[in-house]
Amino acid sequence: MITMKRVRKTYPNGVQALNGMNIHIDKGEFVYVVGPSGAGKTTFIKLMIRELKPSEGLIQINGNNLGDLSDKQIPYLRRKIGVVFQDFKLFTKLSVYENIAFALEVIEEEPEQIKTKVMDVLDIVGLKSKARFNTSELSGGEKQRIAIARAIVNQPAILIADEPTGNLDPETAWSIMGTLEEINNRGTTIVMATHNSHIVNTLKKRVIAIENGKVVRDEVGGSYGYQA
């Protein structure tokens, strides 16, 4: 499903973010990506959604080599990958409904289908009652749920989450984890970069640790392994 071979990424300013990264993630897995700040987690995520191009190496998602993608094909890749960010990245002027519907309008879904799918996905994240709310009226946890809802409404095979609990209090963080686990149980592969040692150590999953742009540890059911 996701394969990286000898991937290097050097930024124009000379910083080497990834330095020969090898990873393989199978369909349906739930993977934590951990590591100190600046280890290369964010670069890793940006490479997967082709926000960045690797300087060297091979990245395959669903069998497609991202290096071969033209700029025009990038949107179609992104429609197959849901992404959730620490800062939610919601349209602040739009309603909850409109935020999620946008992802469906992009793929030119039929209007009746949009309505059904948005309400379904709001049901999954438990915010059906807030469809007409403006996103600015929501709490942090609710915003993250909406971001998750938007990320999965197209039923992507992969959900990438960059510090999804980073801005949330512990209780809310746990409820978000519950939602993610439920999505994973439906068959979606989840790759989650996190600094939350408590979650990693409690909700045991495969842990990939990155340091200095390389994988230094990869164990199923592993622990966080850093000072919180």
Partner: protein, 297 residues
């Protein structure tokens, strides 16, 4: 790839909604459009009327060619025919010495009657009153007419004519340069203001791209929005200028009989149409140029 109709409808709707969602920024853009168009439009009216005034002055220029006293009817006839058939001659009127005296007496007002006793021994010449097709050709035509043997002399105010044309030509060139300069400035200012409104929506565009929107999907609503800003921004100045000019025209018509403004119809519609078109195009141009910058995500 052809855009589906429902997607097109969606883009149109979003374009409208975005104007409302970004209320103050839209208002700022439209105000910039309105103010600049008002200035450009007012200036356009000024230039059109200045040209009209210049034309009026220039068209008053005429050549008076006086026949020799002893030139007989057939000689006069042949000169008249030749002048009439000249390419650069717009209009010729034959005025015999009797008419000449009438015109002269009329120009003297009530004192003119004393000249009535001159009619028997009329010292005036029969004359041709000639207007050139292009007023600037006046001197050349006058030279040619003067070369005829039956013509005693020609008059066309040669001393002031050269200066008049120098001045009118300068005014025309200056007016044209100012209009072009003003249009460039306003295009720049309007597209810059629109750029600012989109600059504030960088994040929005970034999110669209991350969710998998194609570039054209992101662009289209901005296209509509830009066109709408241009359109709505143009309405107030066009309405203001139309009403203002019509009022000014009738005011001048009543108060200053010797010089009338250019008739509002159809000039006002032509200028309004042009302003509207420029405004919409600049709106689209401004929005598309600024969106382009943020599409590389």
């Amino acid at each position: 790839m052809a855009i589906k109709r429902k997607t097109l409808t969606r883009h149109g709707r979003e374009g409208f909604k975005n104007i409302r969602r970004n209320g103050w920024m839209s208002f700022a853009s439209m105000s910039a459009v309105a103010i600049m168009l008002f200035v450009v439009g007012a200036f356009a009216f000024l230039i059109v009327n200045t040209n009209h005034l210049i034309d009026t002055i220039e068209n008053d220029v005429e050549i008076r060619a006086f026949f020799e006293h002893d030139a007989d009817a057939s000689e006069q006839e042949s000169v008249l025919e030749e002048v009439e058939s000249h390419d650069s001659v717009e209009n010729v009127v034959y005025r015999d010495r009797d008419e000449g005296l009438d015109v002269f007496m009329e120009s003297m007002g009530s004192d003119g009657e004393v000249f009535e006793n001159l009619r028997e021994e009329n010292p005036l010449n029969d004359a041709l009153i000639i207007q050139a097709t292009d007023p600037q050709m006046t001197a050349a035509v006058a030279e040619e007419v003067n070369a005829q043997s039956a013509i005693e002399s020609v008059e066309y105010g040669e001393s002031i004519l050269g200066q008049l044309f120098t001045v009118t030509n300068y005014v025309r060139i200056l007016g044209g340069a100012l209009v072009i300069g003003l249009i460039f400035t306003s295009v720049f200012l309007i597209s810059n203001t629109i750029k600012l409104t989109i600059l504030s929506r960088k994040d929005e565009i970034q999110i669209m791209k991350l969710v998998g929107a194609t570039n054209s999907f992101v662009r289209f609503p901005f296209f509509i929005e830009g066109a709408l800003i241009g359109l709505i921004g143009a309405i107030i100045p066009i309405a203001g200028l139309t009403v203002g000019y019509s009022y000014l025209y009738s005011f001048m018509y009543d108060q200053v009989p010797f010089f009338t403004f250019v008739e509002p119809n159809p000039m006002i519609w032509q200028i309004s149409g042009l302003l509207l078109l420029v405004s919409i195009l600049v709106g689209i141009f401004g929005s598309q140029m600024s969106v382009r910058k943020f599409l590389k995500v």
